[in-house]
Amino acid sequence: MAELAADPIRRAAPTYRERTQLGMAFERFREHRLAMAALLVVVALALLSAFVPVVSPYDPNKTNLFQIFESPSIAHPMGTDSLGRDLATRILFGGRVSLAVGVLAALLAITVGAVVGVLAGFYGGLVDGLAMRFVDILLSIPRLFFLVLLAVLFGGSVLTIILVLGFLSWMRTARIVRATVMSLKGREFIEAARSIGARDLRIMIRHLLPNTVAPIIVAATLGVAGAIIAESTLSFLGLGIQKPTSSWGNLLTDATTDMAKAPWTAIFPGLAIFLAVVSINFVGDGLRDALDPRHVLRKR
């Protein structure tokens, strides 16, 4: 029936491109100038960090005792540190770690959150009760205390920090996904899927998860920003990424002793964090507007 009805219409109007929900959201996002600019900043930061050996003539670990604490100049746009190393190069190398940790931790968090949320929302009852009490417990412990504790106990390698951040940041995603799934699971299309013999797993993956994509994408984006701040805070406290691997956070640890002589050592690494976080937040904001079906078109 549906095919019969749809076919002649498609043939009659071949010039119309089929518009998917995500395609329309992408178009709306592109109209959001601020978010697009922010996206460019994020991409530029990521590319610069990825290709820093090509971009920068300096070795991030090569000390030069004749160039200690040089203030920003053309040769060293962000100055040098207490061992004469080029700060800009070190920041970009730190960006590799900080950005990677942020993205991977956020991915881990939304994966766990989506799985727990879908299972809890779909099965309800005991599964839901247990999962949600667990979420309550985790959310009741001040997050940074928990992070500090786990980072101390498990040690600060890049992998452990990703795991610790990921496993402490999935709770809100789980709540959002659960609520969405609960409101959807009684709807007709789920009943229809069940009536043609779809099993639970298929219903969850093919029918329920795609409908929670919008909040998950937004949560993931804002999660990257949150994870970058959390990682840099931990590393700053000496509990996150350990030297000699540099991250934006542990570059600032040095600054606490150096900033009286060389304020730029405190300014630039923090500026990198700030730029990354503010841009990612703008992108997340733009995505939220673009993905919201009740979206009101408004130029900014």
Partner: protein
């Protein structure tokens, strides 16, 4: 109302118990531990280790250790610090007021700044004030707290030498309120600036939602003054979701205090936690985690109670 609060308090007990179980399990399961520091020491024999483990109760099975801890905890005996041998309760008791000073000042300052800005940005939507404030708040809440703290130290402490670099009171000097206030300015500014960003953003959104409601038009057509409309009709309704956010934010604020106390050398609970974590001082860590969780749970309860006060449609049963 009283019964509702009572029931919520009773419900909080299993939650708190769950938190202690998880915290205890994490501390016990993970490597390291309070004796790890000794293990590299060649003078520290196996017999010494066993003796110490026995003295600290670490040789018992973990569930037994937990049960013993829990019973003593309810009896008001929170154990003794592994590191300083002082009672945990008195260690926390010394630090808790300092953190509460810091936090309550932050809370008041934040609300005093955020409320008028949040309301004004919504009332004057798309004005230049709105654009500047919205941009500034976005920047503020993307700011890592510790970096902001460093910048403030560099600016006001090192460059202009206007304010003390850290600590709570000038060393050696007699206690004066003015001295405490001077030491409070930078740490409070650090946390508040970030927090104001969060609150203004939220207030603006919920104010915009209420100002577009029909009852606003009704209020205007009745000839009410604009001030009354904003404060009585718009703000009171916008405050309902805001109260929840402000309460749920408390744990974040606590976390912010940990970093800020570290940067400014503020002798509060956050620093105690940090030092204890580095020393694997389990009794102190457990005590602080329970207090932190209690604060969060009480804040959530308060949010629900205030919610009912602001919105009479909500009936507690």
């Amino acid at each position: 109302m009283g019964r509702y609060v009572l029931r919520r308090l009773i419900q909080a007990i299993p939650l708190l118990l769950g938190i202690t179980v998880i915290a205890f399990a994490i501390l016990k399961v993970t490597p390291g531990g309070p004796l790890a520091a000794y293990e590299a020491n060649p003078d520290f024999s196996f017999a010494d280790q066993q003796r110490l483990e026995h003295a600290l109760g670490l040789d018992q099975p973990v569930p037994v250790q937990y049960a013993q801890w829990l019973i003593r905890f309810f009896a008001g005996d929170w154990g003794y610090s592994f590191a300083t041998s002082q009672p945990v309760l008195s260690m926390i008791g010394q630090r808790l007021p300092n953190t509460l000073w810091l936090m309550s000042t932050v809370y008041i300052v934040t609300l005093l700044i955020a409320l008028p800005i949040g309301v004004l940005t919504a009332v004057k939507q798309y004005s230049w004030f709105d654009h500047i404030a919205t941009g500034a708040t976005f920047a503020a809440f993307s700011m890592p707290t510790f970096w902001l703290g460093l910048l403030l130290i560099v600016t006001f402490g090192l460059t202009f030498r206007l304010l003390p670099l850290g600590g709570m009171l000038a060393p050696g000097a007699p206690f004066t309120v003015g001295d405490l206030a001077r030491h409070l300015i930078l740490p409070v500014a650090t946390i508040s600036l970030v927090q104001v960003g969060v609150y203004v953003r939220f207030l603006r959104a919920s104010m915009l939602e209420t100002t577009s409601q029909d009852y606003m038009r009704t209020a205007r057509s009745k000839g009410l003054r604009e001030g009354v409309i904003i404060s009585r009709h718009a703000l009171k309704n916008a405050a309902i979701p805001f109260v929840t956010v402000a309460a749920l934010d408390l744990p974040e604020l606590f976390g912010g205090a940990l970093v800020t106390e570290q940067i400014f050398g503020w002798p509060g609970m956050g620093r105690l936690f940090y030092d204890s974590a580095l020393r694997s001082d389990y009794p102190v860590l457990m005590g602080i985690l329970v207090i932190g969780a209690t604060v969060v749970i009480v804040a959530n309860l308060m949010a629900d109670v205030i919610y009912g006060f602001l919105d009479p449609r909500i009936r507690y049963s």
